[in-house]
Structures are given as structure tokens and as C-alpha cells.
């Protein structure tokens, strides 16, 4: 039982870390890509949309080759560590969040910029208004990323190595149990994974409601 709790905590720890790191950079980039009219932004949008569908194993093998002892970052000895898992998950989640954020901006952009211009609102405050306007969409984008991180198997197996007491997370534990024929344990772990995703989502939504005092929500 203690081991299962450890596995669950490891899952939460790596996924929350990777989602947080990815979101810190992906949300601003997504907003920028949505607002900007520059040619680069226009070109980058489809790039991120397709990267959102990047096969996770590709992220896995990339991080594996980078972190492996024979790879360029080998001397840091990060392969088969939680850091390796987090890195791979960031790579998977980052484009997903960017690709979910920029489309939020597009439909309201014209009206938003016009209003800001009309009311003569300074740039800094514009950003704050924009975030407030898009809060539900942003929340959903980040939660989508978190769900994706929690659910990842292949890449996590490659770079984490499924080491007991260290890098074994819920999904890789499920694979292991299935391979060993312990289907009921695998299923219980799967249900636990689902319940945890539910509770994290629920927790975030209710906190959000409390913080925002929003009658619409």
C-alpha cells in the first residue's frame, strides 16, 4: 500500500511540475501568438498546432538520446530520473498548451484591441484584462496539459526506466502489472488514476471559483 501511495505521489509530482513549467512559458507564448500580427507568429501557429500532435515517443527518444550517458547532456546523469520524466513531459505538454491558448485569443482580438484603444488602457493592464477575459479557456488549456502529462506512458517508460521506488509512475506501473498478468491490480491502478485526475480537476475548478468570485462560473 505504501508503495502504491509512493507511485501516486511520484505521478502527481512529475506531472504537476511539468505542467507548471510548461504553462509558465506556454501561456504567454500562446497569448502572444494569438495577438501578434507578425509574419513569424502567423507561421508559428500551425507549427505549434502540429507539435501538439507530436507522437510522445518521439519526445521520449529525443530526451533519451540527450540525457543518455553517451549523449550531449550525459554527464549530468539525468537519465532514469524524475527530472528526465519531467523534461519529456514538458516537451509533450508545452506545444499542447500553446496550441490551445492562441485560438482563444483570435475570436475576441478585434473587439478587445478596439475597446482597449477606445478607453486608452495602458499595455500592462491590457494583458491583465486579456487573461481575465480568457480565464476559463486558459484554465482548461492548462488542465488539458496536466491530463496529458498524467496519462503519458511510452516516453515516461523510455526516459524514466520504470525504476521501483524512484521513477515508477501510475501509467508505467499499470503496464508492468499487465505484463505480469496482474490484471486486477492494473485495473485498480487505472481507476485510481482516473479518480486522481477527477479530483485534481475538481479541486482546481472549485479553487478557481472561490478565487474569482465569478457569478457566471
Amino acid at each position: 500500500m505504501k508503495e502504491i501511495i509512493d507511485i501516486i505521489l511520484t505521478s502527481l509530482q512529475v506531472s504537476l511540475s511539468s505542467t507548471t513549467i510548461a504553462a509558465i512559458f506556454a501561456v504567454p507564448l500562446g497569448l502572444f501568438l494569438g495577438l501578434s500580427k507578425s509574419r513569424m507568429a502567423l507561421r508559428l501557429r500551425p507549427v505549434f498546432s502540429s507539435l501538439a500532435g507530436l507522437p510522445p515517443v518521439l519526445a521520449g527518444i529525443t530526451i533519451f538520446l540527450l540525457l543518455s550517458n553517451a549523449g550531449p547532456l550525459g554527464s549530468f546523469r539525468l537519465l532514469y530520473s524524475k527530472t528526465a520524466i519531467i523534461t519529456a513531459q514538458v516537451l509533450i505538454v508545452f506545444p499542447l498548451i500553446v496550441a490551445s491558448v492562441y485560438p482563444l485569443v483570435l475570436p475576441i482580438k478585434a473587439v478587445f484591441l478596439e475597446t482597449c484603444f477606445g478607453l486608452n488602457i495602458p499595455k500592462k493592464q491590457q494583458i491583465r484584462f486579456l487573461i481575465s477575459e480568457l480565464r476559463y479557456g486558459l484554465l482548461a488549456a492548462v488542465l488539458l496539459g496536466f491530463g496529458r502529462a498524467m496519462a503519458e506512458v511510452g516516453a515516461v517508460m523510455m526516459v524514466g526506466g520504470n525504476i521501483r521506488y524512484k521513477t515508477r509512475v501510475m501509467t508505467t506501473a499499470i503496464v508492468l502489472e499487465t505484463n505480469q498478468g496482474n490484471y486486477s491490480t492494473a485495473l485498480y491502478l487505472g481507476i485510481a488514476l482516473l479518480l486522481i485526475s477527477f479530483s485534481v480537476n475538481w479541486l482546481v475548478h472549485s479553487l478557481f471559483k472561490e478565487v474569482s468570485h465569478d457569478p457566471l462560473y
Binding site: L9, T10, L12, Q13, L16, S17, T20, S68, N69, A70, G71, G74, S75, R77, L79, Y80, K82, G161, N162, I163, R164, K166, T178, N179, Q180, G181, N182, Y183, L203, V204, L207, E210, V211
Partner: protein
């Protein structure tokens, strides 16, 4: 409430950091084959290794081919594998200091309880010949593991070309996965497969398969420890690896290994010399 939430995230992030500080034993990156790992042997030895050699094992389980590759890349300090031919090349090329073969057991051919092509009491090579000519379903690991290379060696003994056989999809299924998954597939498809006894026994209750051929001399399975050579591969912990090897070859360890499995399965899973 917001602070609490941030607190939860931060404390979860820090959790692992706190834990690892308490561990003074040397950490050793051991890469082993799926068959050893699935048998539970290392988990059984782990507390002894921790107490007597002060080594905390970090076990990654891969097929022997991938395990040797991990050794070459320096992603492991020590290997515990069973793929003699590939191991010899590995050591000859200078990646490993030496091979210490310290335990063995027997592969077995398992299949549907009715033994549809009647291979019981045959040698492994003859059994393979019969399976091939009857085109009776056969599941292969197909993952360059030690078991897979043993299988290829048996096809050769049977006078058949493993390449040609494996291309015959009318009966040959290359699973590309570990022993457990391959056994499950064999059970689902009611097919023959080659397996190590330890993994099979540990899963027997969940499989509708029986041991058909065992203890044929061509089924012997040697396990070796290989310490990675620090002169050839950078960043490996050779001291701890050697300490692990010394402990595994000690009389006490060999005795513990020879006793493993008797209680749970009523059979010895690994023999020592």
C-alpha cells in the same frame, strides 16, 4: 485557499528531494533482463545487498540486447544478463571488464495443455522442427532479448534459418515485448513459446499454458554479471559495481539464490555452481 493550493504543489514538488537525502548507501544502476526482474529474485536479494554491501539498487529491466546497449552508452554501472554470444562480443570489444557466469536455469517450451503437435519429451531443436513443419502458432519475444537469442540459436540447431522462419507469418508471431506480455499473448492465442522457467512459474496461475519441453540440454540458460569498463565508458561507478559483483559471487549470495523460489513455487528457479 489559493495559498494552500500553491502549498500543495510546492510540497509535492519537494517531496522526492527530502526523501533522497536520507539515503546514505551507494546507489548502483543495475540493468537486468526482464526475466530476472519478473522472477522477483532481485527484490528478494535487495535487503541483503543493502545491509551487507550498503548498496541501493536502481533496477531498470530491458531485454538483454537493450541492456547491453545501455551498458555501452554508460546508462548502467553493471549488467545482469543472459545472452552468452552477445556478452562475449561485448566484453571482447572492451565495454565490460569481464563476464562472471554465476547462475543458470533452464528455458522451457510452454504451450497449450493438449500439446497439439506432440512435442513432449523431444529435444528443444526437434520440438522446434515439429512446430515449424506443422505451422503450429509460435510466439517469439522478437525483442533481441536473451530469450530471443536463445530461440534463434535453437532454430539454428534445428537446421532452420531463424530469419526465414520469423518471416513466415502463417504461424510465427513476433511480439516485440517482454516475457510476461509474450506469455500472456501465447496463452490468449493458445500458442507455443520459449520462456524462462522463473517468469512462467510466477505467472502460471494466470495462464492457460503448460510446460511441454524442459531440461533438454539445449535449453540451459546462463546468467552473467558484467561490470562496465570505466576505461571505455565514461561516468560509470566501477567501485560500487565491483562491490556488487563481489557480493553476488559470495557463498552467502549463491546460497540465497539457490534457495529462492522453493518456498513460493516448490521449485528452485536458479541454480548455482
Amino acid at each position: 485557499m489559493k495559498k494552500l493550493f500553491i502549498g500543495i504543489i510546492v510540497s509535492l514538488m519537494l517531496l522526492s528531494g527530502c526523501k533522497s537525502e536520507n539515503e546514505q548507501p551507494k546507489t548502483l544502476r543495475l540493468t537486468t533482463t526482464t526475466s530476472v526482474n519478473d522472477s522477483g529474485l532481485l527484490e528478494y536479494l535487495r535487503p541483503y545487498i543493502l545491509e551487507e554491501a550498503n548498496i541501493n539498487l536502481e533496477i531498470v529491466s530491458l531485454g538483454s540486447g537493450a541492456a547491453l546497449e545501455a551498458g555501452k552508452r554508460g546508462d548502467a554501472d553493471v549488467l545482469l544478463v543472459h545472452s552468452p554470444a552477445a556478452e562475449k562480443t561485448f566484453v571482447d570489444e572492451g565495454y565490460g571488464i569481464k563476464r562472471s557466469t554465476f547462475m543458470y536455469n533452464f528455458f522451457v517450451i510452454v504451450g497449450p495443455s493438449g500439446d497439439p503437435v506432440q512435442i513432449k519429451d523431444l529435444s528443444a531443436a526437434d520440438a522446434f522442427k515439429k512446430i515449424e513443419s506443422a505451422k503450429s502458432p509460435f510466439i517469439s519475444r522478437g525483442d533481441k532479448s536473451g530469450t530471443h537469442s536463445k530461440e534463434k540459436a535453437i532454430w539454428k540447431l534445428a537446421g532452420l534459418d531463424a530469419e526465414v522462419v520469423s518471416a513466415d507469418t502463417s504461424f510465427y508471431v513476433s511480439a516485440g515485448s517482454g516475457m510476461g506480455a509474450t506469455l500472456t499473448m501465447a496463452s490468449e492465442k493458445q500458442a507455443y513459446t520459449l520462456t524462462d522457467l522463473a517468469t512462467f512459474l510466477s505467472m502460471k496461475d494466470k495462464l492457460s499454458l503448460k510446460v511441454i519441453v524442459s531440461e533438454s540440454p539445449d535449453l540451459k540458460n546462463d546468467y552473467s554479471i558484467i561490470v562496465i569498463n570505466p576505461d571505455k565508458v565514461a561516468n560509470v561507478d566501477v567501485e560500487t559495481a565491483k562491490a556488487f559483483e563481489r557480493w553476488m559471487l559470495s557463498e552467502k549470495a549463491l546460497k540465497l539464490i539457490a534457495e529462492y523460489g522453493k518456498e513460493t513455487y516448490g521449485e528452485t528457479l536458479f541454480f548455482t555452481e
